[in-house]
């Protein structure tokens, strides 16, 4: 598999996220019903911890998702 220039992809995403955050608006209490929906929570679902576990074992990448960070188990 050829190595691609991951730096450009990464910095482009960071810049896009920064621009997006700069367009924030104030949300009043009576307007926040959509944000309070349980499916809108920013953390991963409780059941995903089992999947995060096997994915961190079966792939070299770990962390960034609140799950396994590479320690605490008989794994790399």
């Amino acid at each position: 598999m050829k190595r691609r220039n991951t730096s450009k992809i990464f910095y482009t995403l960071i810049f896009s996220i920064t621009l997006m955050f700069s367009s924030c608006t104030t949300v009043k209490s009576y307007q926040s019903s959509f944000l309070k929906d349980s499916e809108m929570e920013l953390n991963s679902r409780g059941l995903e911890e089992f999947e995060n576990g096997f994915q961190s074992y079966r792939e070299g990448a770990a962390g960034g998702n609140g799950g396994n960070i590479g320690g605490g188990c008989g794994c790399n």
């Binding site: 924030c24 104030t26 926040s32 349980s38 059941l47 990448a61 962390g63």
Partner: protein, 431 residues
């Protein structure tokens, strides 16, 4: 810190790391400046992982269980070729207990029993060895304190441990979180420490493959992991919110797996997997959730990963909860992962014996994977107008299943389910 770690630190492209940190710092400054100009009305706190503690809130209990099955042909225990058949049965119970003075106590306990064809081959002379199955037990406790008033922040302290037949672990950590109401954002920082020990109850050499005739030359059997995580959540508008998380993870000690075999192109004798005794990992992830319509929500995430063994990865996922009604939702999901493997990986029989470090673990090779599946979530709702006298209230029921496949024909599937319920205080039931 040993010589390997010092050389590695010097060889890391510090320019790139500095650029990354500078970029994130500037982004944070920009966000802080822009958001403090928005002098809006008071808004509710963001929905977060940590509940606001109160002695009047109910006790919450979550129970989850899963079954996982995998298979493949690149077992690292047998040098990169061999069955990877494994079955895992796991269950987790989590209990949140609100205490007085805005404190909350959390316990979680996980038990996982697995049978593995690959670890069975640590001893190649037997048909079935004691290592064919094992049980992982994990217990963690977390105490959270909320400081109310003008300062308005939370902090938490955690302790825990885990145990397997060949492995033991201890961990502890500290976290801090603050909601910024004017900017409708939240910042947090977490530090975590894990100390692992391979073969804690006996000499490490008992974990080596039976056909390995070396001495191991491993000065220690411990592994230390230090994590610092920073996160930032932001409400963008009434239907859109996002988060960024940066983890910096450093590991020291025995970072290889003592029973993974290595075969060489220039000699017959095998060796065990050997890796440097220092590793830095940096995953950066973001999430974006959008309330597209009354019946559709879009949940997306992306993660970039880099480590000092030169492994880079991109992971993206998309989930589309379809709200059938207020209490029931179905959701399909898809996850794609691509990684460019670490510099010490070679296939079975391709390693050179004069190299210092080597691995044939396909989990750290160049690979792509796809994970697809679906699930549902149901929130029971009582239609009766009578005040409930029951102290036990079901909060939600959820199930999901998925199929995972890598481009080296490794595949697995998992099914998991769980429910959560509240145990009301006596005052709330009127009893």
């Amino acid at each position: 810190m040993d010589v390997d770690a010092i050389k590695l630190l010097n060889s890391i492209n510090k320019g790139q790391i500095k650029q990354l940190i500078t970029l994130l710092f500037l982004a944070t400054l920009q966000l802080t400046f822009l958001n403090t100009r928005l002098f809006g009305q008071q808004s509710d706190s963001l929905s977060t992982e940590i509940q606001i503690p109160s002695e009047k809130k109910p006790v919450q209990i979550d129970f989850m269980a899963s079954y996982y099955n995998q298979d493949g042909n690149h077992s690292a225990v047998t040098g990169g070729e061999g069955s990877e058949d494994l079955n895992d049965y796991a269950s987790t119970i989590k209990i949140n207990i609100p205490l007085k003075k805005n404190k909350e106590l959390r316990f979680d306990n996980k038990i996982s029993h697995f049978t593995s064809a690959s670890t069975d081959n640590i001893d190649p002379t037997t048909i079935s060895a004691a290592s064919r199955h094992d049980t992982h037990i994990e217990i963690n406790a977390n105490i959270i304190k909320k400081v109310v008033g003008k300062r308005n922040f939370d902090y938490n302290i955690s302790l825990g441990g885990a145990n397997e037949a060949h492995f033991a672990s201890f961990n502890g950590g500290f976290g801090f979180r603050k909601a910024i109401e004017k900017s409708q954002s939240e910042i947090g920082v977490k530090t975590h420490f894990i100390m692992d020990a391979w073969g804690p109850y006996y000499n490490l050499s008992r974990l080596y493959p039976n056909d390995y005739y070396g001495t191991g030359d491993s000065p220690q059997n411990n592994r230390y992991t230090f994590q610092t995580a920073l996160y930032y959540n932001q409400i963008i508008n009434e239907k859109l919110q996002a988060s960024i998380t940066l983890d910096i993870i450093q590991q020291f000690g025995l970072l290889s797996t003592p029973y993974n075999r290595i075969y060489f192109s220039d000699q017959i004798n095998i060796d065990i997997e050997r890796l440097p005794s220092y590793k830095m990992r940096i995953p950066v992830s973001s999430r974006l959730n959008y309330y597209a319509a009354n019946w559709l929500i879009i949940r997306s995430s992306y993660r970039f990963y880099w480590d000092s063994f030169e492994l880079k990865a991109h992971t993206a996922s998309l989930e589309l909860p379809l709200k059938i009604n207020r209490f029931f939702s179905l959701y399909p999901f898809y996850r794609y992962h691509i990684q460019y493997g670490n510099k010490y990986f070679e296939k079975k029989g391709d390693h050179i014996s004069t190299n210092t470090y080597y691995t044939s673990d396909y989990d750290v090779s160049d690979l792509q994977s796809h994970f697809i599946g679906g699930g549902f979530k149901w929130i029971p709702f009582r239609k009766t107008k009578k005040r409930t006298t029951s102290r036990l209230n079901m909060k939600s029921v959820e199930m999901r299943a998925g199929y995972y496949r890598r481009n080296d024909d490794f595949h697995s599937w998992i099914i998991s389910g769980g429910f959560s319920f509240n145990v009301l205080r006596k005052e709330e039931t009127g009893k």
